[in-house]
């Protein structure tokens, strides 16, 4: 409790990147997300925590409309990125996803070469005019993914041949290669060992200089380490949202407190 004010001092106020109002998500008859209002800041790491099944992934997937691929899923309410409604009829989800990158729980590189993994996104979005351009984009993305030094000599080796941690950083590099503005990460470290986790966390910390990063995690320590803002979900509700330091040291809601102290699992 005594270090709470200390943490708050470091927080700077950024612009709002994502604004969600009264978001409801249904899977058929299941009401998975109930009335969620949240403002996610730019150049900030925001962590979503909560017991499993509370709807963290579901809400995250609303932000890049990955839920559209699930037939029975229905989203209501209003989500805006930079003031534009992403569920507007004029929005093409494919275009949106180039702007809102996503990293998944399990590393899922394409069964292609490391180079092709990174180059795929820029290629389909026409970001490179020629081969030299593409090479540059690939190198830049791999550097941002903090994996360039490990793979620069084997760019044409299969991406699936890397270790788990390397694969996840490759996936992060793939996500940043399309120059997104928001990066969504769904438990990106849950399949990784502690060393790989540390590397990815370090990377997330760097990424926040350019992106708005939203990370779902089931590890409260991780949330505390990497995020500036934390949202606590419970049974589809957003129970509490605020400065990470405050959530962990001085939560307002009793449910948050129970979860943090290990009484809700």
């Amino acid at each position: 409790m005594y270090d709470a004010p200390n943490t708050e001092l470091h927080v700077t106020q950024n612009d709002i990147k994502i604004a969600a109002r009264k978001v409801q998500v249904y899977y058929g008859d299941t009401h998975a997300i109930k009335d969620v209002d949240v403002d996610i800041e730019d150049k900030t790491v925001t962590a979503f925590i909560g017991p499993s099944g509370c709807g963290k992934s579901t809400f995250l997937r609303c932000i890049n409309r990955m839920n559209d691929t699930i037939d029975i899923c229905r989203v209501e309410g209003d989500i805006q990125i930079d003031g534009e409604d992403i569920y507007d009829k004029r929005v093409d989800p494919v275009q949106l996803r180039a702007k809102v990158g996503m990293v998944f729980q399990k590393p899922n590189p394409f069964p292609k070469s490391i180079y092709d993994n990174i180059a795929y996104g820029p290629k389909i979005h026409g970001l490179a005019k020629n081969k030299a351009d593409l090479d540059e984009i690939v190198e830049k993305a791999l550097r941002r993914g903090a994996i360039w030094d490990e793979v620069k000599d084997r760019l044409h080796a299969p991406g699936t041949g890397l270790s788990g941690g390397q694969q996840q950083r490759l996936c992060i590099a793939r996500a940043v290669a399309t120059e997104p503005e928001v990066l969504l990460m769904d438990e990106p470290c849950s399949a990784l060992d502690p060393i790989a986790t540390a590397q990815v966390e370090e990377l997330i910390d760097e990424l926040k200089q350019n992106y708005s990063v939203v990370i779902v995690t089931h590890s409260m320590q991780q949330a505390a380490r990497v995020s500036q803002k934390t949202a606590f979900f419970h049974l589809g509700h957003l129970v509490e949202y605020g400065e990470t330091g405050k959530i962990f040291t001085n939560p307002e809601d009793t449910r948050t407190e129970s979860y943090i102290t290990g009484r809700i699992g």
Partner: protein, 444 residues
């Protein structure tokens, strides 16, 4: 009482057991496992045994179809003999007499003596006289010079050379007499009757019912080939497109469920049903040519589609969803995700399914019965590529069926030989399937 039972219960876990003594329960379990393994092994052995029996009998029965027995004789017919023969009433009989005289001369030269008459020669060689006359009337310039004739022996003699016909139990008939076999032996020893590889069986077309020696499977191989082209060109794109739509794009609702169930049902529909459908739709309604590989191919396409759709959908399903997420996550459209990532991964399964479907179609006989490809005697090759699709032809299994149904036992031998050819094609297709699967498989 309670005390006693409690004591018993408490004593059980504390009983000392050595891991060196195997307890009854474990023994029972191990025995069951050993029994199961034995059953499995026995099942495999029985299966192998039948496979070997099948292979041996196919090869034994079919190999004779690949050899032919011929009579090779150098023969001179002079101008005068020709005029004389053409002047008589029974012209072919005269030619036969000259041939017999020539044969006698040859035998005397070789120093063998055997008595035979004109009838024996006709039983062994068929209508020699007719063949000779036909030749000389077409090639009068060959009169007076030696010409080597190679004439097929009759199917009975061929059977004797192959061991199908034996002396024991041979009853004299107007087709073969026991004494003819003595003559055959002598001629064989003299090198006049020989056996050679029967290329005609592989390249030739079907013959009439009276000439089993001349029957070949070549024309029906061509028929099957054109049918397979039709099947491949139609069923692969249609099947794959349908599967991709159903698997990746179609909404899950009653209607798609119904389609799904019906595709599975179609795969189990007896092939003759497709045959009668083809007869009604393609021939009676659309007036496509009967017995044509085009129609056969269309019917077999109907039959192959469900197989291809089912295997394609299975291989699309087996591509991990995380790959689709990855592609959609970097902003690929659904179609890009499918064509760039899912389809290449599903390719080995799709190709295997397609080739298995084609192999099934290649061996299918029943539907061909109904569109007139069985019983049609293909006497020649189609002219040209288009003709290959539209001209009446037979197909390999249909040809085999036709032969097996004929009375002359030599055709039976041809049927087995045809089965060897058919199996060789199937084997080749399976090997291609394996090679393709290996090639496309990503081992990373």
């Amino acid at each position: 009482m309670t005390d006693a039972s409690m004591q018993g219960g408490a004593a059980a876990p504390s009983r000392k057991s050595s891991i060196h003594t195997i307890d009854a329960r474990t023994k029972k379990r191990n025995a069951a496992e050993a029994r199961f393994k034995a059953y499995g092994l026995a099942a495999i052995l029985v299966g192998l045994f039948f496979l070997v029996v099948l292979a041996v009998s196919i090869v034994r029965n079919g190999l004779p179809a690949f050899t032919e027995t011929t009579v090779d004789l150098e023969f001179v017919l002079t101008e005068e003999q020709y005029q004389e023969a053409e002047g008589t009433l029974f012209k072919t009989a005269a030619y036969t007499d000259f041939f017999i005289a020539g044969l006698r001369e040859q035998l005397v030269e070789d120093g063998v003596e055997v008595a035979f008459d004109e009838d024996a020669i006709e039983r062994i060689l068929g209508k020699v006289g007719g063949n000779l006359r036909e030749f000389y009337r077409a090639n009068e310039d060959k009169l007076g010079e030696p010409v080597s004739f190679t004439m097929s022996a009759s199917s009975r003699v061929d059977g004797y050379m192959n061991g199908r016909v034996t002396r024991d139990g041979l009853e004299d008939s107007r087709f073969l007499m026991a004494t003819d076999l003595d003559l055959v032996d002598v001629l064989r020893d003299a090198g006049i009757i020989t056996q050679s590889f029967n290329w005609n069986f592989i390249t030739g077309a079907d013959s009439g019912v009276d000439n089993p020696g001349g029957a070949g499977i070549g024309a029906s191989v061509v028929g099957s080939f054109f049918m397979m082209i039709v099947v491949l060109v139609l069923s692969l794109p249609i099947g794959v497109a349908a599967s991709i739509y159903l698997e990746e794009f179609a909404p899950q609702n009653r209607f798609t469920d119904l389609i799904e169930v019906n595709i599975s049902n179609l795969a189990a529909v007896p092939s003759i049903v497709f045959g009668i459908l083809g007869l009604a739709v393609f021939i009676q309604f659309m007036h496509l040519p009967q017995s044509a590989p085009l129609v056969g191919g269309l019917v077999l396409t109907l039959m192959t589609l469900p197989t291809i759709i089912i295997s394609t959908r299975a291989s699309l399903k087996s591509v991990p969803p995380s790959i689709r997420d990855a592609a959609l996550g970097v902003g690929a459209s659904k179609m890009q995700a499918v064509f760039h990532h899912v389809l290449p991964l599903a390719m080995p399964g799709i190709l295997t399914g397609t080739i298995i479907g084609l192999a099934q179609a290649l061996g299918e006989t029943a539907p061909l019965l109904l569109i007139g490809m069985v019983g049609f005697v293909a006497r020649g090759y189609p002219d040209g590529f288009v003709g290959g699709f539209t001209e009446a032809n037979s197909a390999m299994p249909a040809q085999i069926y036709t032969w097996a149904a004929r009375a002359d036992v030599s055709f039976y031998e041809k049927a087995w030989g045809g089965i060897i050819i058919l199996l060789l094609f199937l084997l080749t297709m399976n090997i291609i399937a394996i090679i393709l699967r290996r090639r496309f498989e990503r081992r990373w």
